[in-house]
Structures are given as structure tokens and as C-alpha cells.
């Protein structure tokens, strides 16, 4: 008999494994990703060196994570931005709640950190209208589904389904032709960008010495979100801060090829302060064409806990490129059910620390510890080691699968795992 934590997850796994449409969508995405990444890595041989430098940068940065965050916050404040440190999801929600207020139109670009704090739900509860503007997130939001990949949240939804969703949105029949679908989203969201009160983004990396946020994207939505509304709020993890601009640029070079197999993303926005001008009488005024206000929230939410354990510390080096997910044999069959708010092997660790260990217990038993992720990872993170380590902790808290307990008993008594 499965205990509750296993039972519910087994059901979720099964529903994923037996959903042929989703499996097909994911298979196509995996094939496309692999081909693209192979091409990108072959075209940019220097990446091999840069990714090793990035590993070193991350090692150094995480060692002094607290100081770097402090430095970044001071530098943001110096140029008229506002910086906050949120200890946990609750803290972050409180800050957001105050900053956004009620009855606002909010546009968002993709942010995993915002998912950690269930931001959309919070803002909607307060009577705000929230639009995800990353196409994949937008689709998921409209369909009220759970994202299935870090960067490609709607990777499992075939175009026919997207057409149905969009037809409902705009109240007319929309063809299942991909460029048309993209056009519908563009048309619908354009006016939201320009009339929104608040724009919310994440940041892929932050340079402490200038307080500069880097936002990497392809669709151009994050530029709108961070630029058109009068208020820009950025929420990011305290693990994202690196010492200098040059360090950040290295991370920026590694991310796109590993994340999506492109040589460089269409846009990399660097944001250091609210928009400003001194063109009239050399008098500095904040709020020119871009936002008047910039708020940056640094989230801890389990990251300091991760740091305290030398094994889990390595998880903080993760760039969230998502490459390992595409390469994971288990993710290939379990998709978005393999994890909780983060996916794949590294997602087990991140889910455990940001959403609670109980949410990672079953997924840890579904990981084969094959190390394909480690082989793929640009910063060589030893994920299987961490999953085993996490499982040790979980077992101490009672999350031992009955089958594994039987095996243990059999081994201790009979010298083999098969019972009888």
C-alpha cells in the first residue's frame, strides 16, 4: 500500500505517462532541442571554456551570497531604485501586496521565482487583473494548467489545443496555424502592455557592482513589461547575484545555447535604475519614457538553507537553463509531473527547498540517478548525488517508500533485496 505522499504522485505520474498528446508534444520538443543545442555548441566552441568560468563564478558568488546581495541592494538604492530582501514566500507576498495594491492591471513576463510565492493567485485575490505575457505562460494561464518546463511551460500543448483556447479568448474561431496563433497573442497583449499599471519580471542574473538586472528573452514581452508600465517590479533569487558586470556577461553567453539551443537570445535587457533624464537644465528627473519606479525583490525562500549544507550548496549554481530536463530519461516520460514547482532532477532539490520537502519525496524515488543531467549541465552540477542526499533527509522524516523498506529488511536479513 502506498502512503499518501506516494499515492497522489503515482496517480499524477500515470496520467502524464498515458497522455499520448502530451508525450508526443514533449518528444518533439526534445528532438528539436537536442538538434539545436548540438548546432549551437558546435558553432560556439568557446562556450566550453566560458561555461567552466561560469562554474567558478558561481562557486565564488554563492560563497559570498549574502554580501553580494547586500551590495546589489545598496547599488540599486543609490540610483533611485528600491531593493527588498524577502526571507520567505510570505515575506515576498507581503511586499508585493503593498507595492501592487488593488484594482491594477498587471503584466508579467516569465518568472519561476514568482511561481514559488504563488504570485498570480495573490494579486488576483486582491482584485488585480494579471496577464502572463510569455506566450507559453499565457497559454498555460488561460488553460489553468500547470507549467511543464522551466522555459517552455506549454511544451506539451499541441497547436490544435492552443487554437481552441485562443478562440474562446477572442470570441471567434482561430485557425490552428502557428503564426496565426502567435499573431492573436500579439494583438491581444499589445494593448495590455501599454495600459498596465505594473510590470513584473524576473532576472536571470544580477551584477552586484552596479546593481544591474539582466533579463534574457526572445519574444520581446519582457522588454515591454519592464519598460512600458510606470512601475517595474523585479523578483529574483538571492542565488542570482554575481560580483561584476563582466561575470554577468559570461552567464548571459552560456544561458541561451544551453537553454534553447540558440546562439544568443533575441533580447538581453540590462536594467540598472528607473528611467531618467537630465535634459532640461541638467536637472535629474526619474520617470522619462520608461518606468518611474523600479523595485527589486531578492528572495531567499530556502536558499540560505541550501547554502548551509555543502552537498545542496551546489544546487545554487544552477542557472535555470532547463537543458537537463530535456535530457532526462524520466522527464521524457513524466514531463511536468516529475517535480513540483521546479522539474527534473535539479527540480527535485529546488522543489524541496522552496515548496517543502514533502513535495519532493515521491519524485526523488522516480529519479534513476543516471547522471545524464550532470553530463549535460553547463556548470557540471552533480544532481544525482544531491537527490540521494535529499532522500536520506526525507527518510529521517518518514518518507521511505514501503518497497524500499522491504528491500532494506530483506538485504539486512537475507543478503539480497528480493524477500522470500
Amino acid at each position: 500500500m502506498d502512503p499518501a505522499w506516494l499515492k497522489s504522485k503515482r496517480k499524477e505520474f500515470k496520467s502524464w505517462m498515458t497522455d499520448e498528446d502530451r508525450r508526443m508534444g514533449l518528444d518533439r520538443a526534445i528532438t528539436a532541442y537536442r538538434a539545436a543545442r548540438e548546432y549551437a555548441l558546435a558553432t560556439l566552441p568557446e562556450l566550453e571554456q566560458i561555461r567552466k568560468e561560469v562554474r567558478k563564478i558561481k562557486e565564488r558568488s554563492i560563497e559570498s551570497m549574502q554580501d553580494l546581495v547586500k551590495g546589489a541592494m545598496e547599488n540599486i538604492e543609490l540610483v533611485h531604485g528600491h531593493a527588498y530582501l524577502a526571507k520567505d514566500a510570505k515575506g515576498a507576498r507581503r511586499i508585493f501586496s503593498k507595492l501592487v495594491g488593488e484594482d491594477k492591471l498587471v503584466v508579467k513576463s516569465k518568472s519561476l521565482v514568482s511561481d514559488e510565492i504563488l504570485l498570480n493567485e495573490l494579486l488576483e485575490e486582491q482584485g488585480n487583473r494579471v496577464y502572463e505575457t510569455d506566450l507559453g505562460e499565457f497559454i498555460i494561464q488561460l488553460r489553468k494548467e500547470k507549467p511543464t518546463h522551466l522555459l517552455n511551460p506549454a511544451v506539451h500543448v499541441p497547436k490544435e489545443e492552443v487554437a481552441k483556447t485562443f478562440s474562446k479568448l477572442v470570441g471567434r474561431r482561430v485557425g490552428a496555424d502557428i503564426p496565426t496563433l502567435v499573431g492573436v497573442a500579439r494583438e491581444f497583449l499589445r494593448d495590455k502592455f501599454c495600459t498596465a499599471d505594473v510590470g513584473i519580471t524576473g532576472a536571470n542574473v544580477v551584477a552586484a557592482n552596479t546593481g544591474t538586472l539582466f533579463v534574457i528573452e526572445n519574444e520581446g514581452n519582457a522588454r515591454f513589461v519592464s519598460n512600458a508600465p510606470p512601475v517595474h517590479i523585479c523578483v529574483t533569487g538571492i542565488d542570482k547575484v554575481v560580483p561584476t558586470l563582466s561575470d554577468a556577461f559570461k552567464v548571459v553567453q552560456v544561458l541561451p545555447p544551453y537553454a534553447t539551443g540558440i546562439l544568443m537570445s533575441a533580447y538581453v535587457s540590462m536594467i540598472t535604475s528607473p528611467s531618467r533624464t537630465a535634459d532640461i537644465e541638467k536637472t535629474l528627473v526619474y520617470g522619462a519614457h520608461g518606468p518611474k519606479e523600479l523595485h527589486v525583490i531578492f528572495m531567499d525562500n530556502g536558499r540560505t538553507e541550501m547554502f548551509k549544507d555543502p552537498v545542496f550548496r551546489e544546487a545554487l549554481y544552477c542557472l535555470r537553463c532547463g537543458g537537463c530536463m530535456y535530457e532526462c530519461p524520466v522527464y521524457r516520460v513524466l514531463g511536468g509531473s516529475f517535480g513540483h514547482n521546479y522539474f527534473g532532477g535539479i527540480g527535485i532539490i529546488w522543489s524541496a527547498f522552496t515548496a517543502g520537502e514533502e513535495n519532493a519525496a515521491a519524485a526523488a524515488d522516480a529519479c534513476t540517478k543516471c547522471a545524464k543531467c550532470k553530463e549535460t549541465c553547463p556548470v557540471d552540477i552533480d544532481v544525482p548525488k544531491m537527490v540521494e542526499h535529499l532522500k536520506q533527509r526525507l527518510i529521517r522524516k518518514g518518507y521511505l517508500a514501503p518497497k524500499h523498506e522491504e528491500i532494506k529488511k530483506s538485504i539486512l536479513k537475507k543478503g539480497h533485496p528480493f524477500g522470500q
Binding site: 530519461p329 516520460v333 524515488d365 522516480a366 534513476t368 540517478k369 540521494e388 524500499h404 528491500i407 543478503g415
Partner: protein, 237 residues
């Protein structure tokens, strides 16, 4: 006793995929290797380690290390990459240094390539070699199994699109097969479906992969362990 080789069959080959242990022993005998097996072999600790039960893993590892030590074996040869990895790369952490050397059967047989080659008769067959995670990615053994396959005349050895360090797990590792057999099977299917076209045999070097692939069933491809394949070539005429 001392100086002799211990063929450590491992729980899978001893009890679940017996043909692997039988073939391996037969091959060792024909090569004239003086080896022994243990009737009360016990557990290497690998499964416990992979499922997070590290304290119990230490207990059995200690038991096993002492057992092997007490018999005076200087060399241990394993069929299972899991036993191989655990004993050779993790025992020093779990129980401290051990006075015996541990090798996987593919490494051991590779050193006997010359003798083997004399006896292997041609088999006209197209085969692909599947890299087990514990042997390949975790321990870096890629060359020896392939060289052994190539000793058999007439064999066409092809490769999975993703092989060696990039090889795709069979799905049964890490205790997944016991808690989620349905996932293990589903992953195995994806690997079998990705095999190169026209392949008659998938050769593995791991009883867990072997067992899991076979469980998928209904496949038009034969799954066989490396020593089993070599023994077959020794017989064919």
C-alpha cells in the same frame, strides 16, 4: 585461497538473471581462470545507497568488505556495474580502504582478449551496445565492452544516437524499478524504440538493464549480456 579471484555475481545475476552468472562462470572456466564464488555472497550496498539508506548501506558494505577480506581475495570481478561502482569507488568512504581490487567483468575479460579471440567463431549479426549508467557515465568504462564485442568476427557493431557519456538510462536505476515499475518500463520502451534500425541484438553489460529491457517484452530485438554474447560466439561454428 589467497591470490584467487572472486567472481562476485551480485544479487541480480545470482537470483534474477541467472543466465548472466552462468554464462560468465562458463566463460571464466573456459579461459582457465582460477576463480571462486561465495555461497553466502551478501549485498554490496549499492541499492541501499541509491535509495538514500546510507546507514544500512554502511552496515552491509562493512559486512561484505570484511567477508571478502577474511577470505583473502585480492581481486573481485563483478557482473553488475552497480556492485562495481559501489565497491571500487564508494567503499573507501563507507568503510575505509579495502585490500582488494574491484573490476567489472568487461574490464577483466578485456585483459584476456587475446585468448578469447582465438576461440570466437563468426556470428553474422547486427548489434548495438547499450552503455549502463553505472559503468559508463559513473565509472567511465566505454572502451572495453565495445572492444570485446568487436572480437567476434562477422559482428556489425552500431551505436545508439546517444551513447557513451550521453547514453540514455534504461529506467530501472536508483530504486525506481521497485517503487515505480511502470516508470522503469516506460523509460525502457523509449530506449528500445530509439535503437538503430535493423539491429538484431542489444548487448548490455548490466543485469538491471538486461532485466528491465526484457520486461518490456514484445520487442523484436534480443537483449543479451556481454559475457552471454561472447559465450555464444565461442559455441557457434
Amino acid at each position: 585461497m589467497s591470490g584467487k579471484i572472486l567472481y562476485w555475481r551480485g544479487c541480480m545475476s545470482r537470483l534474477r538473471t541467472k543466465s548472466i552468472a552462468d554464462a560468465t562462470e562458463e566463460l571464466l572456466r573456459r579461459l582457465g581462470i582460477e576463480y571462486e564464488t561465495l555461497d553466502d555472497e551478501g549485498c554490496c550496498g549499492s541499492v541501499l545507497l541509491r535509495t538514500g539508506q546510507v546507514e544500512d548501506a554502511k552496515t552491509v558494505a562493512k559486512r561484505t568488505a570484511d567477508h571478502i577480506k577474511s577470505k583473502g581475495y585480492r581481486e573481485v570481478v563483478t557482473s553488475c556495474p552497480g556492485c562495481f561502482r559501489t565497491m571500487s569507488s564508494e567503499y573507501h568512504v563507507l568503510v575505509g580502504d579495502v585490500p582488494f581490487r574491484v573490476r567489472h567483468i568487461s574490464q577483466f575479460l578485456f585483459d584476456h582478449s587475446k585468448e578469447l579471440k582465438q576461440h570466437l567463431k563468426p556470428i553474422k549479426v547486427k548489434v548495438v551496445y547499450h552503455d549502463p549508467c553505472h559503468l559508463g557515465r559513473h565509472m567511465g568504462v566505454y572502451k572495453e565492452p565495445r572492444e570485446l564485442v568487436k572480437l567476434v568476427p562477422g559482428v556489425e557493431l552500431v551505436e545508439f544516437k546517444y551513447n557513451r557519456g550521453k547514453s540514455i538510462c534504461c529506467g530501472s536505476g536508483g530504486g525506481v524499478h521497485s517503487v515505480f515499475p511502470e516508470i522503469a518500463l516506460e523509460v525502457a520502451k523509449t530506449v528500445l524504440n530509439d535503437r538503430p534500425e535493423g539491429v538484431d541484438i542489444i548487448i548490455t553489460s548490466c543485469p538491471f538493464c538486461n532485466y528491465n529491457f526484457k520486461e518490456v517484452g514484445g520487442s523484436k530485438v534480443e537483449v543479451i549480456d556481454l559475457p552471454e554474447f561472447l559465450l555464444r560466439a565461442w559455441r557457434e561454428s
